[in-house]
């Protein structure tokens, strides 16, 4: 489907699009490899083997998970999704609190990370002096490489006391006076701490991809904008930023994937309590944290481990759906001119 779209975009001088790498499609005869030597063909098979391995690995993981989760899937059905009861000793399992907790942490992380990341990407691509740009970019890439357990330790040592003693009481005093949702007990640990630290982890990811996309906006486009009398701010916001929206969406999809599955930092900070958060200061529980905490124990009982693996499957499903949606949205925005990667840039 994509191929057809790519070939048909030739009649007009195309609007330059970011994220599009135009590849000349080889003819069918060439594709079939009629002209290839023996070595070439063997190399081709090796490549196919590698690709096939990934596919098989994915199917095996999926298969094993479904088989292990089967007792839970058949016993609880769809009610598993919206049941809040989780009591292993009574053989009752429901995913709802963990699902809600996962979405809360991911939501807070994205709400905090996206604006900060886009602003820093804009700064890095257009406003930063050259000497500083290199340093900041390097630091940002290093930040992206810090293991999550280090972020978790940082969270306990710094974010939790800060939230407990200053930020959460402040929120409760100000916003909490109007909305109950902000008027909880300051504890430090909770969805806010976990969401914030996950935000710190995905900011570099979203920012680097967005910056790379911004740097690839064709010069002609920017010059044309200036030629029409636009100011720097106008060019940046209405021309460049608009052109890189697909890249930003791609990077957000990546960030979402990381946030939704983040385990170690969240486990240390969220306060691991399987109840639905009613205030921003509340503790919660994510699917990945629950699995990391209790899976070693769950193996003792087939239904218990089945329920936990089913939670893992749900996590996998969420990521798959998000990735697909991200791609779909991107295709719409790009008018069907999407080249292979959603990563933009």
């Amino acid at each position: 489907m994509e191929k057809v779209e790519m070939n048909s975009g030739e009649e007009l001088y195309p609007t330059p699009a970011i994220g599009e790498i135009r590849v000349e499609q080889p003819s069918r005869r060439l594709m079939r490899g009629a002209h290839l030597s023996r070595e070439d063909r063997m190399f081709g098979w090796t490549l196919k083997g590698g690709a096939l391995f990934i596919l098989i690995l994915f199917l095996i993981v999926l298969g094993v998970c479904i088989v292990t989760a089967w007792p839970s899937i058949t016993k609880f059905g769809f009610a598993f999704l919206w049941s809040s009861a989780w009591n292993p000793s009574r053989q009752i399992f429901g995913a709802f609190p963990y699902l809600v907790g996962t979405l809360w942490v991911t939501g807070i992380a994205l709400v905090v990370a996206i604006p900060v990341a886009i602003l820093s990407a804009l700064f890095l691509s257009d406003y930063v002096p050259k000497w500083l740009g290199g340093i900041v970019s390097t630091l940002m890439e290093m930040l992206a490489g810090i293991p999550s357990i280090v972020f978790g330790a940082f969270g306990i040592a710094f974010v939790v006391p800060l939230l407990r003693d200053h930020v959460e009481p402040f929120i409760a005093r100000t916003l909490g006076a109007h909305w109950d949702f902000f008027n909880g007990d300051p504890m430090g640990y909770g969805i806010l701490a976990a969401g914030l630290v996950v935000a710190f982890m995905i900011i570099p990811l979203v920012a680097t991809v967005t910056r790379d996309s911004l740097l690839m906006v064709p010069r002609e486009m920017v010059e044309a904008s200036y030629a029409l009398g636009a100011t720097q701010v106008e060019t940046l916001l209405f021309v460049k930023l608009k052109a890189v929206i697909p890249g930003i969406i791609g990077s957000i999809t990546l960030g979402f994937g990381r946030a939704v599955g983040e385990t170690m930092a969240v486990l240390l900070l969220i306060g691991n309590q399987g109840s639905i958060p009613h205030t921003i200061q509340d503790v919660g529980y994510t699917i990945s944290a629950l699995l990391a905490n209790t899976f070693t124990y769950a193996v003792i009982d087939p239904l218990y481990s089945a329920a936990e693996v089913e939670l893992g499957l749900i996590l996998l499903l969420i990521t798959l759906v998000m990735n697909t949606l991200g791609r779909k949205l991107l295709m719409r925005l790009m008018g069907g001119r999407l080249a292979g990667s959603v990563g933009g840039g």
């Binding site: 094993v64 292990t68 009861a85 989780w86 009591n87 292993p88 000793s89 009574r90 357990i149 978790g152 330790a153 306990i156 040592a157 939790v160 006391p161 407990r164 003693d165 007990d185 504890m187 430090g188 640990y189 909770g190 170690m264 486990l267 240390l268 306060g271 691991n272 309590q273 399987g274 109840s275 503790v283 529980y285 944290a289 699995l291 990391a292 905490n293 209790t294 899976f295 070693t296 124990y297 769950a298 193996v299 003792i300 481990s305």
Partner: protein
């Protein structure tokens, strides 16, 4: 408040416990998805895996035992009690370490397992109440602690708490309930006490290594619980004996069956164990808790045995090695330099001996008439 927290608490200990969680996860993955891989531990004579609480003790034991018994190699892993029980039963490991005895359900499922008591431990209630001196020993009973953990008692100046502690002036501070998030033997012992003393707890939550907590916040590992309680004003939590001493925590005296409020010390925990061992009605397979229901008025009401689980299906050679190791651990292995320094109370060999004979009989059918002795 946060300044009181020793730095190494959150930096080293928490990271360590989390890294071990990942390692445990890998272990479980092999156990769950790769059954029939007995060579996962190839190259070692004995493999001990399970309870993270027993792990430090097992490490010093393994080191000492390998020094005195040349040619024996013991590998020890901290993977959680559940893993220990399940894998000892199916023969993947030689000894499964567990904080909890086998309850009825698990005795049925793992009928080939023999439980050997190997050390004493307990669960103690710790707290951090602003304005109350750290050296104050609160008096609490089961129903009150249960009500706190059910979310029914929400402030420290609740009339029930004040009634038990007339000399303490409590602030009107919210109680921040903390508990373990991972499956834990300490949790089992703690909830066992609540289960036997509070009907509301029995009906709503029950006793488990990882129960469904109605309120509070959970932490992975006792170290993380200690860190959370020490840094959160108004917090209440529970940990084992070893942690109290190491971090100078305030811990409550719990009410026992005779109405006495008893502090958890090596001495009172031993009393709990002895009274169980001396009781002729106490089962020889040790499948009963030593929480609450004891005949010694000075016994701590929330102590427990730590167990090694051994499968009766082990092959002859391994079984001989395991027997030797068990006898060593229960004899010279109970020296204070191993047990007390790892946070456990030593087991008494003498009152245990007749019972031990019966246990070891099950472990080596046909060779059962040999007298057992430590060493």
């Amino acid at each position: 408040m946060s300044k009181q927290m020793p730095e190494r608490l959150f930096s080293l200990a928490t990271i360590k416990s989390s890294v071990s969680t990942v390692a445990a996860g890998l272990f479980v993955a092999t156990a769950l998805f790769g059954p029939g891989l007995p060579s996962a531990y190839a190259g070692s004579d004995l493999t001990i895996s399970g309870s993270s609480m027993l792990f430090p003790l097992e490490q010093v034991w393994a080191e000492a035992y390998q020094k005195s018994h040349k040619g024996v190699h013991i590998s020890v892993a901290s993977t959680g009690s559940g893993f220990g029980i399940a894998n000892a039963a199916n023969g993947n490991i030689s000894i499964g370490a567990s904080d909890a005895y086998l309850t009825k359900t698990f005795r049925k499922r793992y009928s080939n397992l023999v439980s050997i008591p190997i050390a004493f431990d307990d669960a103690q209630v710790i707290y951090n109440i602003p304005g109350v001196d750290k050296k104050t020993v609160l008096k609490l009973d089961g129903p009150t602690v249960a009500r706190i953990y059910l979310g029914k008692i929400r402030y420290w100046d609740d009339s029930r708490i004040k009634a038990m502690n007339p000399d303490v002036s409590f602030p009107h501070t919210k109680i921040k309930v903390t508990h373990r998030a991972d499956a834990s033997g300490t949790t089992f012992v703690f909830t066992d006490y609540l289960n036997q003393t509070s009907k509301a707890w029995y009906d709503q939550v029950g006793r488990d290594l990882a129960p469904a907590w109605p309120v509070g916040s959970g932490y992975n590992g006792s170290d993380a619980v200690v860190a959370a309680v020490m840094s959160t004003p108004g917090a209440i939590g529970y940990v084992g004996l070893g942690w109290i001493k190491e971090y100078h925590l305030s811990s409550a005296a719990l009410k026992n069956k005779f109405g006495n409020y008893v502090e958890g010390t090596i001495d009172t925990i031993k009393k709990a164990g002895y009274s169980a061992l001396k009781d002729p009605e106490f089962p020889n397979d040790f499948n009963r808790s030593i929480v609450w229901n004891l005949k010694d008025p000075k016994a701590y009401p929330d102590a427990n045995f730590e167990f090694w689980m051994v499968s009766t299906n082990l092959d002859g050679g391994s079984m001989r090695q395991v027997r030797k190791l068990i006898l060593w651990a229960l004899g010279p292995g109970q020296a204070k330099k191993y047990t007390v320094s790892s946070g456990f109370a030593p087991l008494p060999f003498e009152p245990l001996k007749p019972r031990l004979n019966k246990i070891l009989d099950r472990l080596l059918p046909g060779n059962s008439k040999n007298e057992v002795s430590p060493g």
